[in-house]
């Protein structure tokens, strides 16, 4: 279906009542936030600084509430449906990738329930960023994986293709704003997104890396690539596939909650034993773990690289550590 851009404000207006979230500038950072009544939604952005993973896996969330000295535990009610508009294909793929972990033998009720409540409306990338490398890791600027509906910006209109029944339902609800697509539109789309793919200059040749990485355990490259790391964990907090968390109890008087919050393998405390022993005592071991986890361990467990090539960890690292460059060095050592 086609949505003429003149109808775009009406389209957004129709969705606003349905708990609509879209990229918004907050301070200087673009992140997904609730769209209020009468607000304009602009899709003139590359990648949001903060990935939308928080809509299924919040930065901090209550697991259950309780009162000290009492055995009653109240779980939060997760019943709020939510539409995410303008999700980039890499971020939607990331949701599908981490879902594998959250389903591994034990279903994680918080992630899965929140994920089920989401409708992801994607926006294919006409202009991938400088450090994007999604095609190298199984994605594409117009990948539909993990999305319910994918929009392609054709200039004057959006081509809307449903991926799931949720996406179909959304098209049905807005059908008076849509027109049928035609062969020309499809042709334009194919041309635009072949061009978009060609704009991506950064590449990772991952062949042999998952099997080979553990063999480079003591390689000097780990000291080299972690030398400038300051352990800020930006690379992992802003990574759409990083899913590690800490669990903490918060107590105020007798009221308490057990909550979980994003954690990072780049922090010293992450693996610190109470005895003072640390299995990953320096940034060398922690960087090595981050790369191994994404490009080897996750492949071993779930058959997919836990990196979608969004480029955030490269763009936002304060000391210019570059995962593509690390992987190039890995590949070089393996040859």
């Amino acid at each position: 279906m086609l949505l003429n851009k003149e109808k775009w404000p009406e389209f957004v207006e129709k969705l606003i009542g349905k708990n609509l979230w879209a990229p918004k500038l907050e301070g200087e950072a673009m992140r997904f936030a609730l769209v209020a009544e009468g607000e304009e939604v602009s899709l003139e952005y590359g990648n949001t600084r903060v990935p939308p993973k928080g809509t299924a896996f919040p930065q901090t969330e209550t697991m259950y509430r309780f009162q000290l000295g009492n055995t009653d535990m109240q779980e939060p009610k997760l019943e709020e449906e939510r539409i995410l508009l303008g999700v980039r294909p890499c971020d939607a793929r990331a949701m599908a990738i981490i879902e594998k972990l959250f389903r591994w033998d034990y279903d994680d009720p918080y992630f899965l329930k929140r994920r089920e409540m989401l409708t992801l409306v994607g926006l294919a990338c006409n202009d991938p960023g400088l450090n994007c490398f999604c095609p190298s890791v199984g994605g594409a600027p117009d990948s539909a994986e993990g999305l319910d509906l994918l929009m392609y910006d054709l200039g004057d209109s959006f081509l809307m293709e449903s991926v799931t029944t949720k996406g179909e339902a959304l098209l049905a609800e807005t059908k008076e704003l849509l027109t049928d697509s035609d062969a020309d539109a499809v042709k334009t789309k194919e041309k635009l997104f072949a061009d978009a793919g060609a704009k991506i200059k950064r590449t990772v040749d991952h062949i042999g890396i998952p099997e080979g990485l553990p063999g480079l355990w003591e390689d000097p490259l780990w000291r080299r690539v972690s030398a400038s790391c300051i352990g800020c964990a930006t690379c992992t907090y802003l990574c759409p596939t990083c899913h590690c968390f800490d669990i903490q109890d918060e107590v105020e008087g007798f009221e308490a909650r057990r909550c979980r919050m994003w954690d990072s393998c780049m922090f010293e405390e992450y693996t610190l034993h109470t005895s003072g022993h640390n299995t990953r005592p320096t940034r060398r071991e922690r960087t090595r773990n981050r790369i191994n986890h994404k490009y080897s361990y996750y492949v071993d467990k779930f058959d997919v690289i836990a990196c979608v090539g969004c480029g955030r960890c490269i763009n936002l690292c304060p000391v210019n550590i570059d995962i593509v460059e690390i992987l190039r060095q890995v590949k070089e050592e393996l040859q």
Binding site: F66, L68, Y106, P109, D249, T279, N292, Y297
Partner: protein, 281 residues
Amino acid sequence: MTADNPYIPYFATIEDSWFETGGDRCIKTFKVVFDDPAVRDSWNHKPGQCAMIGVLGEGESMISISCSPTEGKFLRFSVMKMGKVTQALHKLEAGDKMTVRGPYGNSFPVDDWQGKKILTIGGGIGQAPLRPIVEFVKSNREKYAGLTMIYGARSAGDLCFKGEFDQMSKRDDLSCHLTIDIEEEGWDHNVGFVPQMLLDLNPSPENTIAVTCGPPIMIRFVLENLKKLGFSDEQVYTTLENRMKCGIGKCGRCNAGCMYVCKDGPVFSYSVLKDIPEAFA
């Protein structure tokens, strides 16, 4: 551990508790019984498995279950007073409640070991995960070809489960060897380090499974000495621990190489472990 939420713990009431050792880092054992009779009946753990135990408002810690299911419908945990959660646990007495979820992880393959001689080599609090094997084999003694236990600690006061050894040394169907690092008055067992005692006892590797747990430095030398004695990697098992939060393979931190200690472990055969780069980090 409700059907829908594996993070919700059960409650268990402490039936009995006692100190195994003294000092700043004392070890206290808790014998607990689930409050819910349905949980009590359906709970089924194997030697080597762990549970997340805790105190609401303080947190949870992964602790090995230090009893065998053959001992009865209760659980035992031996906890060293170390950090926030274990200090909170140490304040609990008989009648108090703790939270429990699990059982987690794989287990010692005691069924596959039937017909073999079992040799456990423990040091300090490392005896806690080995105790269920000893108890399990004791209760099914006719199914195993032998049972030898080597256990050591820094001093007599640092040995856990002391009360159980007198009775064990009276049995003629198992042998129990105790050692402490430094000579002390009134001690009539061996003096010396565990790895050396293993060499001195010179057990035959034939049809034997060796299981070890203790401080990393002890494990390292025990593994070396088992090799010297002719044990193959497949005959040697150990159990690992790492910092954990969820216990169910989600929170990410307990991995040693590609293995999640909470799910793929904690029990590993040395033939697997020797290829995991971080296993002895």
